[in-house]
């Protein structure tokens, strides 16, 4: 969008001496036209967003206070906060909340750390760097459903992971029944999620790293800074904005955990991998309780909003 606008803007930039009344009059309609073309360009995306994101979201908030069902001949009635009362006394919901927190608390630091390490490794000039970049990025372009199906086989009791474990430990580690044991199911899902998504954040980190001026490193080297000091005092401060972006996107992505769970464990064993979104989909579609699912979604929306707001506040520009 910016590239198409640039040529139109250049003549519009007034010369220092162009402050005559005639020039001002010429500027106004031009400004209007620019605004018009701006709105025109936003329109397709805005209309689609409005129709398929905002409207359903607002309808969903309304439905949360009714007893609407997916299939029912009965009229929809307003039931106040009944759905929320039921939600907050449902142990499965609290378990889902706990699972999601567990997932986010592990995934956010580990995934962003791993992505940064990968970005540092490939932010160098050497033969075959593009090969490694592609390799690290490959899982990202693979659909999560496909990845989950593949790992489903790898995590089986006689699957690849246990075979590797027993081979390299000379049979000392028998290996777990990863996805069917409440203690290991969530860690297994965490590992696969990090593997799949880290490449995406690696690219964001890489963009951040490449925006840091090389002169800063040269100056640091002249001052005799060690590699660690270069990272600590040049790279890390230079990644301030990237850091915020990575933090917020990984957190939201982690809170919305669904695909892996739906494909691999269906929330089990014993609710150890169920998540808020999974519960919403289960009640909304499988159990036909549209209103209850809407209530779950509303709670989830508020939760994400709060967490993002806190993160924005903590990472704000202090000056």
């Amino acid at each position: 969008m910016t590239t198409t606008q640039l040529p139109s803007r250049r003549p519009a930039a007034p010369a220092p001496d162009g402050t005559t009344p005639a020039a001002a009059r010429r500027k106004r309609p031009r400004h209007l036209r620019e605004q018009l073309s701006g709105w025109g360009m936003i329109a397709p995306a805005a209309v689609l967003l409005l129709a398929f994101v905002f409207l359903p979201a607002i309808l969903g908030f309304g439905l949360a206070f009714t007893n609407a069902r997916l299939i029912s001949p009965r009229p929809v009635e307003f039931v106040g906060t009944d759905n929320f009362a039921r939600l907050f006394t449902d142990p499965t919901f609290w378990r889902a909340l706990l699972n999601v927190s567990y997932f986010a608390v592990v995934v956010v630091p580990v995934q962003s750390g791993l992505a940064l390490a990968m970005a540092l490794l490939i932010n160098k000039k050497f033969r075959g760097v593009n090969f490694f970049r592609t390799l690290y990025f490959l899982p990202v372009v693979t659909s999560m459903v496909v990845v989950s199906l593949l790992w489903l086989f790898m995590y089986r009791k006689d699957g690849l992971i246990n075979e590797l474990l027993s081979t390299f430990s000379f049979g000392l580690i028998p290996g777990a029944d990863w996805l069917n044991d409440p203690a290991t199911a969530m860690p297994a899902i965490i590992a696969l999620s990090i593997w799949q998504a880290a490449g995406f954040h690696m690219i964001i980190w890489l963009a951040g790293l490449q925006s840091i001026s090389g002169e800063l490193y040269e100056a640091a080297q002249l001052d005799g800074a060690s590699r660690w000091h270069q990272f600590r005092y040049v790279t890390w401060p230079g990644l301030k904005h990237t850091r915020t972006l990575v933090l917020v996107t990984i957190t939201i992505q982690a809170l919305g955990l669904f695909d892996q769970v739906s494909v691999m464990t269906q929330g089990g064993p014993l609710d150890s991998t169920t998540t808020i979104i999974y519960e919403a989909v289960r009640s909304g579609f499988k159990q036909q309780e549209t209103s209850y699912a809407s209530a779950i979604s509303l709670v989830f929306f508020v939760l994400v909003l709060l967490i993002s707001a806190v993160q924005r506040y903590l990472t704000r520009e202090k000056d």
């Binding site: 007893n67 299939i71 064993p269 014993l270």
Partner: protein, 431 residues
């Protein structure tokens, strides 16, 4: 100036084109189901099953070409995974086709939601397999061409080697015999798990496969007297006994808590001694094992062996403008040769004896005749209540939790509580 103007114009045209194409999409799917003139639409779930779809299409073709056709039938096929969603969204938009197919246990739910209208057919359904006729509140809402039957498969040679008698329809295994058989088969040392109950299954498989075991113990999914509560049925002592027994099969190392993806294939690859599957797998197994295949009925766990009844069936929607033609087509399609053709294509049990007589495998003395007897003698319908889809999800989750080691009584009580709350919040699912 001019250039800028063209740019704005181009943007607006692009936007208009996008909106236009969106609108066209909407219109396209709407007109697909609109029934102009003398044509009515029929939806089926079997886009992913070419054999079944071809059989249905040939029935439709022969009806369309017959001089007596009251309307031309147009078939639209959906993949099974998205079929129910398509019907529900079409119903919400008021765009249901005239004829739909339905998974049997969902019929009361859709009848209650007023998607379906009672059938008025010119054929007598009283001789059809009871599980192929879906009734709710005294009315018939759907009818099927076929059913399927659960059974256990084993190799006769394995049973002989372990010194076990093969179970028969007349004399099925009792709980003790089953325990004894599994112990002996495990002692052969041929398999890690002698039994494969298909525990990796999800969705409708869980209530379809395991609620008959619960019913054989004397429990049930819901109290069938009025269908107002699951209390005393799903959490009864008998139900807790069932749960403990089922979990025990895994604890004793007889079966895996989560079996392989394809139980039949695992059995044919000799990874298990007994597989709990159904009539749909019989032809494949017989082809691989020949005379060595032993087809056995499910276990008698106290109240006789039970299997689930009802498969896909056909109904007419209440909004259909030409329901007379829809009823006429359904009546026509229930001719023995049509039923036989569909049953042959799907490897399922034909709904009538006349149709069975046309299929060597299902005729008297045929290899698959046993499934017809199983279906007639042992089929228990899944509860005929609009609450069934909800009950099914709660029961499915309970089964998975029980296998994962949760306390049976707690799990079943929780499921009962959820089911009762759901029934209550729907006003008892009364008409």
């Amino acid at each position: 100036m001019n250039k800028r103007f063209t740019r704005i114009l181009a943007t607006s045209i692009a936007a208009a084109a996008l909106m236009g194409s969106l609108a066209a999409c909407g219109k396209g799917s709407a007109s697909a189901t609109s029934e102009g003139g003398n044509e009515i639409t029929m939806w089926t779930h079997n886009a992913g099953n070419p054999d079944e779809l071809a059989a249905i299409k040939s029935v439709v073709d022969s009806y369309n070409k017959s001089g007596a056709a009251k309307a031309q039938i147009k078939v639209q096929a959906f993949p099974q995974e998205s079929y129910n969603d398509s019907v529900v969204s079409a119903a919400a938009a008021g765009k249901l086709p005239c004829i739909v197919d339905i998974d049997g246990p969902n019929v009361p739910n859709w009848a209650w939601a007023k998607y379906l209208t009672p059938l008025k057919l010119s054929v007598d359904l009283s001789k059809n397999l009871p599980s192929t006729v879906a009734k709710w509140e005294g009315e018939t809402y759907a009818v099927g061409y076929y059913d399927v039957a659960l059974a256990m498969f084993a190799r006769a040679s394995d049973l002989k080697a372990a010194g076990i008698r093969a179970a028969t329809v007349e004399k099925p295994w009792t709980k003790e015999e089953f325990q004894d058989a599994l112990t002996k088969l495990k002692a052969l040392g041929k398999w890690q798990y002698p039994l494969d109950m298909g525990t990796a299954g999800t969705g409708e498989w869980l209530p379809y496969a395991y609620s008959p075991l619960l019913q054989s113990f004397g429990g049930d999914l819901v109290n069938r007297d009025g269908f107002q509560t699951a209390d005393g049925a799903l959490n009864s002592d008998k139900a807790v006994e069932w749960a403990a027994w089922f979990r025990g099969l895994a604890d004793q190392g007889f079966m895996a808590k989560k079996s392989g993806k394809d139980s039949t294939q695992d059995f044919l690859n000799n990874k298990s001694g007994i597989v709990y599957t159904g009539s749909w797998a019989a032809d494949k197994a017989r082809k691989a094992l020949g005379k060595d295949l032993a087809v056995m009925p499910s276990v008698d766990l106290g109240n006789g062996p039970k299997i689930g009844g009802a498969s896909w069936q056909w109904g007419v929607t209440s909004g259909c403008k030409n329901s007379e033609a829809a009823m006429d087509y359904l009546s026509y399609s229930l001719k023995p040769e049509n039923i036989a053709a569909v049953a042959k294509a799907t490897g399922t049990i034909p709904a009538t004896d006349e149709a069975a007589a046309l299929l060597p495998a299902f005729a008297e003395g045929g290899d698959n005749r046993v499934f017809m007897e199983l279906s007639r003698q042992q089929a228990v319908m899944r509860p005929e209540t609009p609450a069934y889809p909800f009950i099914a999800t709660e029961y499915g989750k309970a089964v998975q939790d029980i296998l994962a080691g949760a306390d049976p009584k707690t799990v079943l009580d929780k499921a009962v509580k959820a089911i009762d709350a759901n029934i209550k919040s729907n006003g008892g699912y009364k008409n």
